[in-house]
């Protein structure tokens, strides 16, 4: 998997008219895009069967660049649109690209209910801790005391632990990784694509141009180094003393369980009803 050549990515991009892309130099969004494509390629999925749905935000601009069935929707609503696509054609692989604001502020309600239903959507949440597209306002994952254009004196609110939120709501596959850990990210995405149920992958990402500048993070390379140094794999958590875990980004698959998937549940309901109807004459 690791040695799939770079040009694979190019084979999955739309070449006419869609470039240059809108992302800033140093933005993590492209890294995530690369990992998704390599995961898809490694599974040999038919691109006709992939639907990529997104909301509104820098991260949500991703679908336009890729040669899949693509749907760029409204701010916060990607999961709701994806639910419609998936329920009508359950054979399609539906991937949702969303930002921290898109998914946990305006779209929080759709997130928790899709997780509760366990509908087979692959939600990739690119968490850059800020509203990137609109220029740096506070999001539900902006850290306490961090600076945002709407929190010029520091954010007084606590931030969401997105993965715990998804687990609490019933998601059957939940994982966290960072933009630095590309191979891990790719592996997790592959696992998620094969998991039959609602999957949420939080990718802790860098928005060096807005979040980085506002909070003096020292540019994209430094932010990447921070992800490397300030995160620990889940497997190591138990072996470390609590003070070494405190404040760190925990990476890995945090929840993986098999429970009834929504479209499958619906299909069996239809079977049940049809049998009953046939019996009634």
């Amino acid at each position: 998997m690791a040695n799939i050549p770079q040009r694979i990515i190019h084979e999955y991009l739309r070449h006419d008219k869609k470039f240059p892309h809108v992302w800033c130099a140093g933005c993590s969004n492209g890294i995530v895009l690369g990992a998704i494509i390599r995961a898809i390629a490694s599974l040999n999925l038919d691109r006709d069967d992939i639907v990529m749905v997104s909301g509104i935000g820098c991260s949500s601009r991703m679908p336009v660049y890729v040669d899949f069935n693509t749907l760029h929707t409204l701010h916060g609503r990607s999961i709701a649109y994806a639910t419609g696509v998936k329920l009508h054609k359950p054979n399609l692989k539906v991937i949702v690209i969303t930002g921290d604001g898109d998914c946990t502020a305006i779209g929080g309600n759709h997130l928790i209910h899709a997780a509760r239903r366990n509908i087979d959507l692959k939600v990739i949440l690119i968490n850059n801790n800020i509203y990137g597209m609109t220029g740096g306002q506070c999001s539900p994952t902006t850290p306490h005391e961090a600076i945002a254009t709407t929190a010029p004196y520091g954010n007084i609110e606590p931030d969401f632990n997105v993965c715990n939120l998804a687990i609490g709501a019933g998601a059957s596959f939940v994982a966290r990784t960072t933009a630095f850990h590309v191979l891990e990210m790719q592996g997790i995405m592959k696992d998620a694509l094969e998991h039959p149920g609602f999957s949420l992958i939080e990718v802790v990402s860098a928005c060096p141009v807005i979040f980085g500048r506002l909070n003096k993070k020292g540019g994209a390379p430094q932010m990447m180094k921070d992800f490397r140094d300030n995160s620990i794999p889940l497997a190591a958590v138990d072996k470390l003393p609590p003070e070494k875990v405190e404040g760190k980004i925990i990476r890995g698959i945090l929840r993986r369980e098999i429970r009834p998937e929504y479209c499958a549940q619906y299909a069996s309901l239809v079977e049940r009803v049809k049998v009953k109807e046939a019996d009634n004459g």
Binding site: Y12, N44, R47, D48, N69, L74, Y81, G84, L87, K274
Partner: protein, 411 residues
């Protein structure tokens, strides 16, 4: 394996000749119901109209006075292999039916005022992306929570302008249980044909009223399906130009791999900032309605031949008007009714023509003045004194006597 993955896929289902036919008659099998004369509620008629039109996807959120539509479809759709899903709110509902439509479903949702307000952004998305779907709004008294079980006709303008930005609308308005069935089918047909979000406005009283109706046999139901592309994927344009602005629509999963965005887009569906492409897109949305106005407009003219007084109104208020007209005619007063079944686009030409020989126009409506502004616009030749409003917003209907009194006043 990798090769297979990267080649341009052939269209799968789209090449079947059957799928390209855009008008089909569903066979009797699809409906197991006996078409007897039965007592039926307006909301029930909407649900059966949706099924007969081929709706196979419903997403909604419960709200009085529209809930019966959801309840019936939750029982009926699974029997037919269709999808019913109760979403977390009305925003999710409009989004889900739009997503399903892009995957090829015929989709519909039903709601009332508060939910209709929540859906507005999604309605605009369906319009700009030219995605077929139907929103049924069983109007209740507002603003806000208002009087959930009381009638009002307050959403007439919202149905036209509710979503931000310019976007021409198709809005239908029945006045009986039978017509609720018929216009639901028409709404689904027009959505498919014109690739847009069509709105069906019902009055609370129509939604909850029961009347004796006999639904037509399925053989007599005219069902329109969207035109599917016949070109290979690399020729496909999601918004193909043609004279009538009626273009084929591919579905996700059929090999076309098109892009859909709520951003202003070019004819392929990709975002654009070019003003020429932006105005092309906007013109397309407008002309799609304008160029097909004769197909879209429907208006009932009742006893207008010799009328000196005309009543212009829609929905339940038109039924009060008809009763008033019968009473007035019994006393020799020449009065008639014009009732739009399509309120948007507004039937300008028809109304102008039919009101030419009329001296006075009475516009009764259950709001503080919405339809009357359209009549004002079209009757500039008449003095203000000849345009008479009757408006009520207290949860009660305008009665035949209310209208009769006005008729007598002006005759």
């Amino acid at each position: 394996m990798l090769k297979k993955n990267t080649k341009k896929a052939e269209p799968k289902k789209t090449t079947k000749p059957k799928a390209t036919k855009n008008e089909t008659k569903l066979d009797e099998l699809q409906s197991t119901r006996e078409r007897k004369n039965v007592l039926m509620q307006g909301n029930e008629a909407v649900a059966y109209g949706a099924l007969d039109a081929g709706v196979n996807f419903f997403a909604g959120y419960p709200i009085t006075p529209s809930t019966e539509v959801a309840e019936i479809l939750s029982a009926e759709l699974p029997k037919r292999g269709g999808v019913f899903v109760q979403m977390e709110d009305e925003i999710a509902s409009i989004c889900a039916i739009t997503g399903a439509s892009l995957a090829g479903a015929k989709s519909l949702t039903a709601t009332s005022g508060p939910g209709f307000s929540l859906m507005q952004e999604g309605i605009g998305f369906a319009k700009i992306t030219e995605t077929p779907c139907v929103v049924v709004n069983v109007q209740r008294m507002g603003p806000s929570t208002g009087m959930p079980t009381s009638p009002a006709q307050g959403d007439i303008m919202q149905a036209k302008w509710g979503s931000h930005g310019d976007s021409p609308s198709i809005v239908l308005y029945p006045d009986s249980v039978k017509e609720s069935y018929e216009l639901t089918i028409r709404a689904v047909n027009l959505a498919e044909k014109y690739r847009t979000c069509v709105i069906l406005l019902l009055d609370e009283v129509i939604g909850h009223m029961r009347e004796a109706v006999r639904l037509p046999d399925m053989a007599n139901v005219r069902v329109i399906n969207r035109i599917k592309p016949t070109v290979p994927p690399h020729w496909y344009k999601h918004y193909d130009e043609n004279q009538k602005y009626l273009s084929p629509l591919a579905s996700y999963g059929e090999g076309y791999r098109f892009h859909v965005t709520g951003l202003t887009h070019d004819s392929h569906g990709f975002p654009t900032n070019k003003s020429s492409e932006a105005s092309e897109m906007m013109e397309r949305l407008r002309k799609k309605i304008d160029y097909n106005i004769r197909d879209l407009v429907q208006i009932e003219s009742h006893q207008m031949e010799d009328a000196k007084i005309a009543i212009f109104t829609a929905g339940i208020t038109a039924r009060a008007a008809k009763a008033a007209i019968a009473m007035a005619r019994a006393e020799g007063i020449k009065v008639g009714l014009l009732r739009p079944l399509t309120i948007w686009p507004f039937p300008d030409d028809a109304v102008r023509k039919m009101l030419r020989n009329v001296e006075t126009v009475i516009v009764p409506e259950l709001n503080q003045g919405q339809l009357i502004h359209e009549i004002q616009r079209l009757t500039k030749d008449k003095s203000d004194g000849n345009l008479i409003p009757i408006q009520r917003v207290n949860g009660q209907l305008i009665t035949p006597n209310d209208i009769l009194r006005k008729i007598k006043e002006v005759s």
